[in-house]
Symmetry: C2
Subunit: 129 residues, 2 copies
């Protein structure tokens, strides 16, 4: 069960005795999902540096949730893109908060420090339907 | 502040008086993020049908969180892919749970009902780093 604390929190209400029966919607409105392709694909040192840099972003106030990861060993299927090296998934309450994150000194410092590590970045920004 | 209830819940501990100072990591291990491109791009009826279909997936027990969305009106940048129509973002505790979701009758019914709506699907499966 996923819930957000703070002013915008919405508790998921499930059927009693069937707590797993309805996955709660995630109440944060804006998803920011970034995929990084390293200049040295699969290089463990560069991957660790990038992940360490991404962890510093947790200090940015507007951020409502952070998940940093690598390709998961799920079943191989044609539709799955697993060519990237590192994923950064974030939640924000508003598009303005996402912009504030983008402009925040911690984010700028991360880019200045780590951009030498990647050759390609793809970003998906999603608004709740 | 984002937290997950249930057995694997991890509460985020922030600095007192500075509750926004550290975005909590999301404890669910596996992210499953799917982007759909409609056969009729931008068609409001088809988009609504697909979104309605995606909402049925919330009934699948293994699911730990669900976010359904459309491209967000964030700042336009070259790295942002906003060519898709609908996004489905899910969390699972394990890769096995993601597979159980994939094989669940509700998911199979969704695909059978809605696959006529899309021309392309891209999936990203992410494991916590």
């Amino acid at each position: 069960m996923m819930a957000l604390g703070g002013a915008g929190a919405v508790a998921a209400t499930g059927v009693a005795g069937e707590a797993e029966a309805a996955a709660p919607a995630i109440p944060a409105k804006v998803v920011h999902h970034v995929f990084f392709w390293l200049k040295n694909p699969g290089d463990a040192t560069d991957r660790a540096k990038l992940i360490a840099g991404l962890r510093t972003l947790a200090g940015i106030p507007a951020l409502r949730g952070l998940h940093i990861g690598v390709p998961a060993p799920t079943e191989q299927r044609d539709v799955i893109d697993s060519s990237w090296d590192v994923s950064e998934l974030m939640f924000f309450d508003t598009v303005a908060d996402q912009k504030a994150y983008q402009d925040h000194p911690i984010h700028r410092a991360f880019v200045a420090e780590c951009e030498k590590l990647w050759r390609k970045v793809t970003v998906y920004d999603v608004l709740s339907a």
